[in-house]
Amino acid sequence: MTRVNNFSIEVATVNGSGSQTANNVLMRAIFQMGVPVSGKNFFPSNISGMPTWFQIRLSHRGYAARKPETDLMVCMNPESAAEDIARLPPGALCIYDESLKLGNCRQDITAFGVPFQELATACCPEMKFQRLVKNMVYVGVLVRLLGIEMSEATLALARLLKGKAEALNHAAMDAGYQWALANLPDQEELRVQREPRSGARLLIDGNTACALGALFAGVTVVGWYPITPSTGLIEGLAEYAASHRLDPETAGPTVAILQMEDELASAGMVVGAGWAGARSMTATSGPGLSLMTEFIGLAYYAEVPGVFVDVQRVGPSTGLPTRSSQSDIKLCAKAGHGDTLHINLYPATMEECFRFTYDAFDLAERFQTPVFLVSDLDLAMQSWITNPFEYPEGNLDRGKVLDEEALKKIQAWGRYRDVDGDGIPYRTLPGTPGGKGAYLTRGSGHNAQAVYTENPAEYTEVLLRIQRKILSAASVLPQPIHLECGGKRGVLAYGSSDPAVMEALDILREHHGTRLDYLRVRALPFSETIGGFLRSMEVVYVVEQNRDGQMAALLKEFFPKEAPRLRSVLHFDSTPITAQTIVDQILSQEM
């Protein structure tokens, strides 16, 4: 039976070998044919010479979660070839570098050797480029083999490369195509077919989406320190800012991006800039976040806005820097010694990466507190199809800031006074003229007037107000999304587990007759809607990608009455969770 637009391709190669362009051309060509597609790059934590895998999933139903089985393998890496072949399901297709001599290693798959070196040499006389264009040869082979439209592949290539590089690579692609035409039998197992596009769609990664969110939110000061997988966010922001955030008068940049000496400094400069009135942010990952702990506590207690993006990788410690997890949930929720609770946003889609980052700046200034955008490597560095982002209309919400005019009208101002009864005090910005509004910010005990205090009642007043303030954010944060089916059992998930959950729900319904409600949590502190959902269910499976059930722990803390009915579905082996994992774990717990 032919599988049309519903299978997966994997390219096993060596990092640093330049396969990225080839893989992108391949994926984009399919994408341009209107086929829902998603790409995942499994790359090592080193710079070159180690095995790396790129998986492209085609799914006419739009499933974008990781698919564990590979239907078509491209074997380019001698080191991993044996294992790569071994894990193919029976009936799979494989093309491999002829020199690997893999022809007979499995009888239950169809494998074709391709003379990559020969083809590359023929179309590219310059030795030093041969290694690179070899990759484009397999694209050509696949174009032919799968029925991808060559015109789309050509277009995709033209988007990525120009001039001589384009020509060379095109020749290589064509060589692959021609060779396949001449040497490979037709196959009817796997086909790519044009689909009618449902509206405009685009391919993007989460880091870029977050960068755009910051760009449109008017970020002005960025302190950062390189760390995988967050580096791309800042580098993307810098690139976009260079064309889209220039001062109309001077053409100078309107965002100051500074690589700091470490993450402590990054956090510190974010806090300093936020205090001074900038929209400030940093992006980091687990180890960096650990180092920011003290500054985050200061920002919380001194009530200084700042946006902290945590692109989660696999911990603990250095862990697997190039793999994904959801294991900083606890740290993002409560970083700091003493009593702390932070506003966290959990995007699950590219649109949310964009919009939540945008919102994070408003929330940080509105609630005068650090706000965490909790991303992960899977969202941030993989390729996702999305609808174009909606423009965030309206004014930037700069929160309660008293300027010179406002100060003039006010009799007695106190930095930490709860004037409006909403727990949110008014702040002033350094440099405001008029001789009023100056105060000294401190992380030590202070009263409503921002004056140093060791008085228990004054200390408590501030701490309780901050608690109220943060908890009150729940009602304006992105509300959970409820996919109802009217049953008494449900799934709760967040972030990058979403695609796998969506697929799992279909499998459960279609293959197991199990219908489950689904609630996707999008922010901390938790909305009351979550409580309502939990109360209405007999059992709720909390799906997350960490060992300890970190989100489940937060839910148990804030909804203790519902705690007995929570069950964890956990996946934490460093790969993105799959639908089948969820299905299996749920079925095994359904008695």
């Binding site: 449109f216 955030r245 008068e249 500074l258 000496e261 300093g272 009135g277 400030s280 100056a438 992380g443």
Partner: protein
């Protein structure tokens, strides 16, 4: 000071530059520095609201509460005021940054930030109130404690000190000075000059801690500092506006001009000392310290180096003053970007 007018060019009085009631010990060296900050700011006619006071944690770091009450201040966390300052500088380049730190705050926990602040030449007057101990935690040695100096209870410091001044020179800092809280005139002049410096100005001020480190066997006591102090120059400072009497040292005098037009004038008291020659200055300060001397004055000055804002190309308009129309690109920009990605 007797000749000073009672109001400055802004019409403000000295009182307007004072702060809250101090909680430091009576006689603390830090108080002397606070006083000279007040005087310098008053005489310079700084707009208090345009000064950002930054500090870490320690007795020294508390002092921003005790001067310039109409300035904003941020008493942050231990050792990291430099990072906070960098953020403030970028956010609002119109602020005058004044960072007050301790030797513990800057030379151990905060040394990395100190180093990179200097490297980026962040505009700030960086005062280290240097008492050789962690005073607020009750008198442990800090990294600037001299070898052989003893604590009251006998313990002798055997580790070599980190010298904030030679370190700053090594790092290429464009304004390096040492002073002594017991030398108010020099200190005030240096603070004024530091405010004129466009980049990072490091002032290491020997500031005896009367509670933990002012005894006979300490080299950081008032007495020891007084005995060992060798002022390098007689200093004067001429602000760009010339509205107040200028103290110009008598005798042959040299000067350095700052980009804002103000000048520091000095009559050299130490043969051959040239504060514009970094390498020689470094050598003399090192050699002199090895002899047990305490050189004070302007150690090194080279005001014409690119600053943070040159590196980052910060807009002239403070980033905090940019309107939303500049900060938030329009829908057409998003549309274009979306199309590029389609």
């Amino acid at each position: 000071m007797s000749t000073s007018p009672t109001t400055n060019k802004l019409g403000l009085s000295l009182q307007d530059y004072t702060g809250g009631k101090s909680t430091l010990c009576v006689g603390c060296g830090h108080e002397g520095i606070t006083l000279q900050i007040i005087h310098a700011a008053f005489e310079l006619g700084l707009e208090p609201h345009q000064v950002a006071k930054l500090s870490g944690i320690g007795c020294s770091s508390k002092t921003p509460a005790y001067f310039l009450r109409s300035a904003w201040g941020f008493n942050s966390i231990h050792g990291r005021a430099a990072a906070v300052c960098t953020g403030v500088a970028l956010a609002n380049r119109s602020m005058k940054n004044l960072l007050v730190s301790g030797d513990g705050d800057s030379m151990s926990i905060g040394l990395n930030h100190f180093t990179h602040l200097i490297r980026r030449n962040v505009p700030v007057v960086y005062i280290i109130e240097d008492n050789g101990v962690y005073a607020l935690t009750k008198g442990q040695f800090s990294a600037t404690a001299d070898q052989g100096s003893a604590l009251r209870w006998g313990q002798v410091n055997e580790l070599p000190p980190v010298d904030p001044c030679t370190l700053a020179m090594e790092l290429g800092c464009g304004f390096v000075a040492r002073s002594f809280s017991g030398n108010p005139k020099q200190l005030k002049t240096l603070i004024k000059a530091a405010f004129a410096h466009p980049g990072t100005a490091v002032l290491d001020v020997i500031s005896p801690c009367v509670t933990w480190n002012n005894h006979e066997t300490s080299t950081r006591s008032y007495q020891s500092a007084k005995q060992r102090e060798i002022p390098l120059q007689e200093l004067g400072f001429i602000p760009p506006f010339h509205t107040e009497p200028v103290e110009i040292p008598a005798g042959e005098s040299r000067e350095v001009t700052f980009p804002d037009g103000s000048r520091i004038t000095f009559r050299t008291l130490h043969e051959d000392y040239d504060p514009s020659n970094r390498i020689e200055a470094w050598r003399i300060v090192h050699e002199s310290r090895e002899k047990g001397e305490l050189l004070t004055g302007l150690l090194y000055c080279h005001p014409d180096k690119p600053t943070l804002h040159d590196f980052v190309k910060t807009t002239q308009t403070p980033l905090t003053a940019l309107p939303q129309s500049t900060l938030k690109p329009g829908p057409e920009v998003l549309l274009r970007i979306m199309e590029e990605l389609a």
